[in-house]
């Protein structure tokens, strides 16, 4: 060990800077201890106590700089002193840096003039508190968090309406406001079709199809699924329809939800009746007479809703547009016959990440195959005993609560779905796998990278297995729909432009299997 000193007379640095330099020098290789100080009596005393004092420091005064290093050898000591000099040369007043992060809503609001929307995704039990604070600060709210009590939801929405603010959610996964996708949402063209949705992937599917077919979205407002239940009374759903009704940039309104409670249905029908704009309604799981009577176009599935809206947008005859869709479906029936020829087994298994897409598939299955088993069945009698175990024809929502407790959603984490693909593929009775790939912000940036190993392995295990899917999203999405479709096709997956089309094709394949009795 040697002690080496360096002295610079009249080189003043404040003690804090010098302590920082000391800290750096102490980490230099071979350094046992060091002191970078101004030569005050007090500091010289400290150096003596630390064994860092040299005779040459004796005569120095407090305006002189001392660098004293105790190191393994001369070389290490010299390097350490050079380091201290270099750092001291580099010390300069640091300009104020960019935003170092906010700790609270009120700080953020004061830093962002014109803040008008809070996106809240904190743990459910704290979410309402943050949402109330946002409303108090006159911010609209998108409440992604779930596990917010229905009482809090009602209080939040009541307060919001008094202030003329939106509360989207709780459990609102998606929205597009002023062309900007929020949370799990797709990058769609802007246009004149407005959407109100109490169903997340329903909104994503309809807005993506519209955008992919040349239409555009003015606003897409999510309300959270519970809004249209009896307790909440459709507070935001109805208000959002009104807002789009008054919005000069919206000329057509699409409503998406599961069937609401009957009194809310009445209110919606009433609002529709008084609307001056054409309204398309897709109530997944029902096509209630009261909506048709109100003058709205009632669609039977999400794709149809998008096509009706597009027809209205372009001034095309709606019936004509639907008949074109019908022609497309006839072509799919022919395709199904072909595909069925190469298939073995007789059951279909649907593995969904989008809840509404899963519902839509079941709805389409109902007309063709009758009820199918599910963890979220349309008919409660067809509830799977064990959600992890498929039975006969089964379509599961892997994004349902029982699968996602303490785990990321299957749009982000593919491990659950990949396992399930492999276990279904190993079941010799399974002829068709049906699934969705949901793109957009929020979803996994590389879904095919995630799916590829499972798809390849499944194909190896069961070369006759038919895999049919749809990709919900747009070419503007970070994942790029076109690229995703290309890669899926390369993997031998049959890709359809919508979930409705993929489901229709898949179930028709199954119908053909049963008719040819290829057991």
């Amino acid at each position: 060990m040697i002690v080496k000193g360096f002295v610079k007379k009249g080189a003043y640095h404040d003690s804090v800077t010098l302590m920082l330099v000391t800290k750096e020098v102490n980490q230099s290789s071979g350094v046992e201890n060091s002191g970078v100080v101004m030569a005050s009596e007090n500091n010289k005393e400290l150096l003596r106590d630390a064994g860092l004092f040299l005779k040459e420091f004796e005569s120095l005064t407090e305006t002189d700089l001392i660098v004293s290093v105790c190191a393994k050898d001369e070389d290490d000591a010299t390097k350490a002193i050079q380091l201290a000099e270099a750092i001291l040369k580099g010390v300069k007043s640091s300009a104020l840096r960019e935003n170092v992060g906010f700790k609270s809503l009120s700080q953020a609001v004061s830093a962002l003039p014109g803040a008008n929307l809070a996106v809240i995704s904190v743990a459910g039990r704290y979410a309402a508190f943050e949402a109330f604070k946002a409303l108090e600060n006159n911010l609209h709210v998108m409440l992604f968090s779930d596990n917010v009590s229905v009482e809090d939801e009602i209080r939040l929405k009541t307060m919001a309406l008094e202030k003329g603010l939106l509360v989207m959610g709780p459990d609102c996964g998606t929205a597009i406001i002023n062309g900007i996708p929020l949370a799990f949402a797709n990058v769609v063209q802007r246009g004149s079709i407005g959407i109100v949705a109490a169903s997340g992937t329903g909104l994503q599917e309809v807005s993506s199809i519209i955008s992919n077919l040349g239409g555009g979205i003015s606003q897409a407002i999510g309300t959270g699924g519970r809004d249209i239940k009896k307790e909440v009374g459709g507070l935001m759903f109805l208000e959002a329809i009104q807002a789009l009704e008054q919005d000069p940039d919206t000329s057509i309104i699409v409503l998406i939800s599961k069937p609401p409670s009957s009194d809310i249905l009445e209110k919606i029908a009433h609002t529709v009746q008084n609307s001056t704009k054409p309204i398309v309604a897709i109530l997944i799981g029902g096509k209630p007479q009261v909506i048709e009577d109100s003058g709205a176009y009632a669609a039977t599935n999400l794709e149809e809703a998008a096509h009706i809206a597009l027809a209205l947008h372009s001034g095309e005859n709606v019936a004509q547009r639907l008949s074109k869709l019908q022609e497309r479906n006839l072509a799919l029936i022919e395709k199904a016959k072909e595909l069925a020829l190469g298939a073995k087994g007789w059951y279909i298994r649907g593995l969904y990440s989008g809840g509404t897409l899963c519902d839509e598939a079941q709805l389409i299955a109902k007309d063709l195959l009758g009820s199918v088993y599910s963890n979220t069945p349309l008919n409660p009698k067809f509830l799977l005993k064990n959600a992890n175990q498929s039975f006969e024809h089964t379509i599961v929502d892997l994004g349902d609560d029982e699968f996602t407790k303490g785990k990321p959603h299957p749009m982000i984490d593919f491990s659950l779905r990949n396992q399930r693909i492999l276990s279904e593929a190993s079941d010799k009775e399974v002829a068709v796998l049906l699934f969705d790939v949901v793109l957009g912000y929020g979803s996994h940036p590389d879904p095919i990278g995630q799916l590829q190993p499972a798809i390849t392995e499944a194909r190896k295990q069961n070369p006759h297995l038919l895999m049919i899917c749809s990709v919900c999203g747009t070419n503007g999405d970070p994942q790029n729909k076109q690229e995703v479709v290309r890669r899926l096709t390369e993997l031998g997956v049959e890709v359809q432009p919508s979930n409705a089309a993929a489901s229709f094709l898949a179930f028709h394949v199954v119908l053909n299997l049963n008719s040819t009795l290829n057991r």
Partner: protein, 477 residues
Amino acid sequence: MSVGKIFRQPLNVVNIGLAGFAASVSDCGGSVVQVNWRPPLSVDADAYSTMATHNNAIEAANARVMEVILSGKPVLVGMDLAANVIPGMRKDLILHSGPPITWQRMCGPTRGAIIGALIYEGLATNASDAEKLAASGKIAFAPCHHHSAVGPMAGIVSASMPVFIIRNDTFGNYAYCTLNEGLGKVLRYGAFGAEVIEKLRWMEQVLYPVLQDAIASLGSIDLKSIIAQALHMGDEVHNRNRAGTSLFYRTIAPAIVSVCNNTSDAVKALNFIHGNDHFFLNLSMPAAKCCLDAARGVPFSSIVVAMARNGTDFGIQLAGTNNQWFVGDALVPDALFFPGFTKDDANPDIGDSAITETLGLGGFAIAAAPAIVQFVGGSAADAVQYTLDMYEIAAAENNVFQIPYLDFRGTPTGIDVRKVVETGITPFIDTGVAHKEPGVGQVGAGVLSAPAMPFQKAFDGLAKTIRSINDGAIKNP
């Protein structure tokens, strides 16, 4: 009013929670700021509902408390020996910093300083005798805070030590503090060697009479005004007292020159003040203490009136819970160390000096003190951010103490324990660091966020007090 008004505004998003959700907004042309949200501190569910139910009463009490705190006017009115002025002070009583603690649980610096004080008082002649006496039960120990006093670091006050007398001119209450000994080997860091005792004697025999006469000749010195000016001059009056000391020096120097007959004593006294940048700390602390003490005993109030550490425990007191202490473990500060020392040498946080933060100074006013921002991460932006964070837990903004950089915004003042619980942000303290062994002294300076536990306990404790007030009211209508 329609919710649709947002359709005609540019979208400016505050993203609270999952940081990934900010990307879609910034990618697609909106503005977004991220809130790094943290959960609130966990408290008893009953306590939470009691506090929510009595929100109006708490708000009213806090408004009253803040009015008292902000209207306090601390002035230095004189000096005397502790035994003559500190209420309850006696020869066999030693005051220490922080919440109450037994000799057995005291940290090294506190023990060292007590040993020094017993020698200084002539109650022991050497360290081992002093230690035996301290452990014998013949000497009583009590927090400075129980005797209208405050002390930096170990905060030891014994009967013959000279103390500043500070009066709150608005409310008539007093606070006391010893003289600051300077840096190096000093009693407040637990040093008790011969040179320490010698310096204390010089302070008692030379410095004290000179200062006493000088202060008497001036009548009184307005400390609030000095603190306000010092903030404009780069002090936060906890870890940096250079401006405050200079202003005090400017005030006292002519008086010393005119009243002191012994020129050599006058020069020594003036040089002592001049040579100690922390001289003013022992005035900023009792100034804060006497403003906050006036606000004690206001039922329902959730405002902190004392925040203090004894090197083992960190304790706080609320205006609404009388003299109850709520304590948790004292933490070791993140610090920069003097040559030859590391974090392993550091004692956990110690001293009554957090009384400055309690009044919206110190760490709360760090944005006013660019010279020491390197303690807080190296940049002025960090310092500003710390002060901005403290507004989140403060009940008010100071009417006199201001931050020039923040366009002379008043410092965040009056810690509301409810806000600490709600935001999970605990008070930010910048402080000196003592060696954990007695007798070594200061080893560095740094910062820390107060531990959460005292605030959780205080929240629950206030709720309990409120419930008992209500029960009493029901029993005795």
